[in-house]
Amino acid sequence: MNPINWHTVFFYLYALVACGFGVAVVISTNIVRMALYLIFSLGATAGLFFLAGADFVGSMQLLIYVGGTLVLLIFGVMLTAQGPLISLRTSGGDWIVAMLLAGCLAALLVPAGLTVSSWNTGRPAPTTEQVAGNGAQPVLVSTTEKTPQIPLAGGLPDVDNNGIPDKQPITAAPIGLGLLGARVDKLENVPEALRPGMSGYLLPFEVISVHLLVVLVGAAYLARSKRSAMNR
């Protein structure tokens, strides 16, 4: 009998919260409550990110989504939450159709997620040789064992008997470098010919920056157009 895998426990906890409140969002008819449930759902999703080793993404989820986007949504809710609009009822027919479709989707997606056997369990624990070979050299978590591993400040990811590294690697630095065009995580494991395709996300990053700016300007414009039209 293996000891309880706390990683798994927390996964189920967060998953339950996320799914439960997600479904609650659907079921609830009150727009204000929907917003509240959504916060919980998304927050739990952030927890799932942490559990998947994506610490930076999880924190961004909390900061941007929970702290920014949903606040924005709640502002919208508060601005439009007038009597009849708080709970707009949908006809039963629509519900039935939606549920049918949901069932279809579920029948497609859930089996698709479960078919690949290698996806069902986490990474096996590395052998002792491997651990000894890696020795004193702190390395970034690597996908292949053959290639020399890149030394990375931050310490060796010690792996417990469940294969879960007890020290999570810090992903903020590689992500930041990736956004600036340097993929330090993939330097060692790709054939020479593929190197040019390994470039990071500098251009998308810049594009998204500009996109955000445009969106802000556009949003501001749209939001104030009524008033300016009235003033005119």
Partner: protein
């Protein structure tokens, strides 16, 4: 500056100055002063500048070529001292000049060697004289294979002489025209043009345009004279033609003027057609356009036409270590001093001693003296003559040619074959055909009298220095090319022309027409002179005639200016009112009459006409049958000339006024008009003196091309005498005496009819009514041409017009109707088929869009559901297809 550089420069400038004037007037004509009056200053300045440049060139030529006067004196002494010389003293000068020139300046090589001989006689070394001609390319336009198109010059004494004559006369005519054309400075009301509304034509003056054409005319004529190749000759030939067209049609609104201009132009086209054929024949046979030999860039001499047709020869005498010039057809005149079995020693007239090998005589077919026999005895006057101007191939091994490339082989082949000679005949006839057109020879003489429609200064220019002179000049220039057959044709055409024109002139009453016919007649004399081998005589007459004919025309212009009529029947007694005009015109009449004190002194016409007649007599002596006709017509013509010229003068200036209305308004012309008359009358008197150091015949002799006396192998028994032979006393004295008496006869008749009115012209008219009618109607030439050419052409044209109207137009109309039907059909197809198709597609598209419209419900949630359905369906499809594939 060496003459070979300075002469082309001077003459080239003199040639281009009128062009510059023309360009200025064309561009700025009406703006030059009030009514373009400055245009006359520009044009006159240009032509006077040309004249001055020509005179400088004349001086250079004279002092470099004739300057060796000491030499000439030696020759003269030699001639005078020669026993048995038949020349009289007063002729000695002229003969000396000619004979010396013949042997001394004939050709560059010839000249060199002759002078070499002459100097050798005087203890000198090698010759130092200048060549006979300068020729070079100024600018090469194009070279296509062998065809070389270039602007080149050919300058010999004839060119220099023509330049001087043309620019002098043209200058005086410019001055004269300034007075004559004064009316054109204002608006003109032309009384001879009646418009459809019954009014007279009212038009602005065209003073500047007149001078513009004059400048172009001078430029064209000078270009023709200086031209160094036949291409240039043709270009300027046509330019001269178009200028005469412009000027004859100057009063273009008058129907008669425009008809006359057209007639001149069209008749000239007939001649030019022949000329083109001639030039093509020349090109096709010789393969060159150039006259003279030109050194090209590679330093190789390209043979010109002249040397191809008559290549110079030199016989190298090894015994004498001396080059004896023996040009084809060249004459060595002198007497035999010693004979050996091998050679003949000859004392030439110019004092040279020559040794001629007998073997050469045999080889070259040199035949004897004036009578055509070989020399009989020693100490007999003797002239060697090569009857055929062509090189004999047997003598080729004797040719030592140090300055000219050997004759190309193909030319030799050409010359030795029959068709080469025929081509030469065709070329000569063709070129002469052009000359016939330009110089108004029979049968193309009809345009010249009609050309009197132009302003009188134009007539003067056309009749003396430019248009008609161009024809004779060209005949003279191409003289070396003409074969004996062509020369005979020229002689006959000239003789017929001179007689016809002279007889027509008897009955003419229009003062300008008398002069026009007299021009035609005198041109006939020139052609006759050239035709009987008198090259220098013909061109001599061209020069002297230019002076007195321009004088006569300008006098008549002065008369017309004063009387405003051309009709001599309305004149009479004008000499009291306009003495300058009357007496200068008398000088002109005397000059054309050939007045002289025989053997002492005479007017210019006397010398030139005498030399033609003498040459004709010399020709008669050798060719009794042809000569009788040619010389007879020439002699008769001189008598008729005397008659009609004095008739004209008497009718105009002598007697009593016939029309008092005209007489009262007559006034002397302004000085700007009569001063040129005075100048010209001096030249008309003195231009012919042969004893002057720079006399015309002497200058002409320097331009004589060797081998001038051609034989006519295609005709039997036609021999062309050397021109110097006509200066043998027998012919010259005969000519002088005959002409004097015949002309006196004509003069006497004129005096009897019109001066003293002893006889009544009207009675003579009645008595000789048929002849008078014939002459009055100009031998019905116009009517004849109308019947032969004009009417058939009109008839054919009418038929063709009808054919065009009914047949071709009919076809075109039918075609048009058919096309219209087809296009209607096409329209139907377009409208119903193509448009229908397009509309159908459009309708389908519209209905599809219309039916799909309802899909756009505008309901967001429905869209979401559809997206989901689509996603599910797509996924299922992919999974199914993957499963099916695997």
């Amino acid at each position: 500056m060496a003459p070979e550089a300075s002469l082309p420069l001077l003459l080239g400038l003199a040639w281009l100055l009128p062009l510059a004037s023309f360009a200025i007037i064309v561009l700025f004509g009406p703006k030059l002063g009030k009514a373009g009056i400055l245009a006359s200053y520009v044009a006159t300045g240009a032509i006077v500048g040309s004249f001055l440049l020509s005179m400088v060139a004349f001086g250079i030529w004279h002092f470099r070529h004739v300057g060796a006067r000491a030499e000439e004196a030696v020759h003269g002494a030699a001639v005078a001292a020669t026993p048995g010389n038949m020349h009289t003293a007063d002729e000695g000068g002229s003969h000396d000049g000619e004979s010396h020139s013949e042997s001394g300046h004939g050709d560059s090589k010839h000249g060199d060697s002759e002078h070499g001989d002459a100097h050798a006689g005087g203890g000198h070394g090698l010759p130092t004289t200048l060549p006979k001609s300068f020729t070079k390319d100024w600018y090469s336009l194009a070279q296509i294979g062998q065809l070389k198109l270039s602007i080149s010059y050919y300058i010999d004494s004839l060119t220099v002489l023509m330049f001087s004559m043309v620019t002098l006369i043209a200058s005086l005519i410019h001055f004269y025209a300034f007075g004559y054309m004064h009316d054109e400075l204002h608006d003109i009301e032309d009384h001879e043009v009646v418009l459809s509304d019954g009014h007279h034509l009212h038009r602005p003056g065209r003073f500047y345009r007149f001078f513009q054409y004059l400048s172009l005319f001078c430029f064209s004529m000078l270009g023709l004279v200086i031209a160094g190749n036949i291409l240039m000759v043709f270009v300027f030939w046509e330019l001269v033609g178009i200028c005469s067209y412009f000027l004859i049609g100057f009063y273009i609104e008058r129907r008669s003027a425009s008809n006359a201009a057209n007639k001149a132009f069209i008749v000239n086209r007939v001649g030019d057609f022949g000329m083109i054929i001639g030039l093509m024949a020349l090109w096709g046979s010789l393969g060159t356009f150039a006259f003279g030999d030109i050194k090209n860039e590679q330093g190789k001499v390209e043979r010109g036409i002249f040397s191809s047709v008559r290549p110079p020869e030199k016989i190298y005498d090894p015994a004498a270590r001396q080059v004896i010039a023996m040009t084809g057809g060249m004459v060595i005149s002198g007497k035999v001093t010693a004979e050996t079995p091998d050679s003949i020693t000859l004392l030439a007239d110019n004092g040279d001693t020559k040794v001629i090998l007998r073997s050469d005589i045999e080889k070259r077919g040199i035949v004897g003296g004036p009578d055509g026999k070989p020399p009989a005895t020693v100490h007999e006057p003797f002239a060697l003559r090569v009857p055929d101007g062509m090189v004999k191939s047997a003598a080729m091994n004797l040719i030592v040619d140090d300055s000219v490339e050997p004759t190309p082989a193909q030319i030799e082949t050409w010359r030795n074959e029959k068709y080469g000679y025929w081509l030469l005949v065709i070329a000569g006839l063709g070129i002469f055909c052009g000359c016939v057109g330009k110089s108004a020879q029979f049968p193309l003489h009809v345009w010249l009298p009609d050309a009197m429609e132009g302003p009188t200064p134009v007539s003067a220019l056309v009749h003396s220095a430019t248009m008609v002179a161009a024809g004779v000049y060209l005949a003279g220039r191409f003289f070396p090319v003409f074969t004996g057959e062509v020369l005979l044709v020229i002689a006959y055409v000239g003789a017929i022309t001179l007689f016809l024109a002279a007889t027509i002139a008897i009955t003419a009453v229009d003062i300008k027409r008398v002069l026009a016919y007299s021009t035609v007649s005198q041109l006939g004399y020139m052609m006759l002179g050239i035709g009987v081998g008198g090259w220098a005589a013909g061109l001599f007459h061209l020069i002297t005639h230019a002076f007195f004919k321009s004088l006569l025309f300008m006098c008549s212009g002065s008369v017309i200016h004063a009387t405003h009529t051309n009709d001599m029947r309305r004149m009479g007694g004008l000499r009291h009112k306009m003495p300058w005009t009357a007496y200068t015109m008398l000088v002109g009449v005397l000059a054309i009459y050939g007045a002289a004190i025989p053997f002492l002194i005479g007017f210019s016409g006397h010398y030139s006409k005498d030399s033609i007649i003498a040459q004709a007599l010399s020709f008669w002596d050798l060719n009794p049958r042809h000569g009788a006709i040619l010389a007879g017509l020439a002699i008769a013509g001189s008598g008729i000339t005397a008659f009609y010229m004095f008739r004209m003068w008497f009718m105009t200036f002598a007697g009593k006024p016939r029309d008092h209305h005209v007489y009262e308004h007559v006034h002397e012309s302004p000085p700007v008009m009569y001063v040129p008359l005075v100048v010209l009358s001096v030249f008309a008197f003195a231009a012919g003196f042969p004893w002057l150091p720079f006399s015309v015949p002497k200058l002409l002799e320097q331009a004589r091309y060797p081998g001038a006396a051609a034989a006519a192998p295609l005709l039997d028994k036609v021999v062309f005498p050397e021109e110097y032979l006509s200066h043998v006393g027998a012919f010259h004295n005969q000519a002088e005496i005959i002409i004097t008496f015949v002309a006196l006869g004509g003069l006497a008749l004129a005096v009897a009819f019109y001066g003293l009115q002893l006889l009544n012209p009207d009675e003579a008219k009645k008595q000789f009514s048929p002849i008078y009618k014939l002459l009055w109607n100009k031998y019905y030439f116009d009517e004849l041409y109308a019947a032969i050419f004009v009417r058939p052409v009109m008839f054919v044209a009418k038929i063709i017009a009808n054919f065009d109207r009914w047949f071709i137009d009919g076809i075109i109309h039918r075609l048009a109707a058919g096309v219209k039907q087809i296009s209607l059909l096409d329209d139907m197809i377009d409208r119903y088929f193509v448009d229908g198709l397009v509309n159908l597609v459009a309708a389908w598209t519209w209905s599809i869009g219309n039916s799909l419209r309802s899909l756009q419900t505008g309901r967001l949630r429905q869209y979401v559901m559809l997206i989901v359905i689509g996603t599910v369906a797509l996924t299922l499809l992919v999974r199914w297809s993957v499963a099916a594939g695997s």
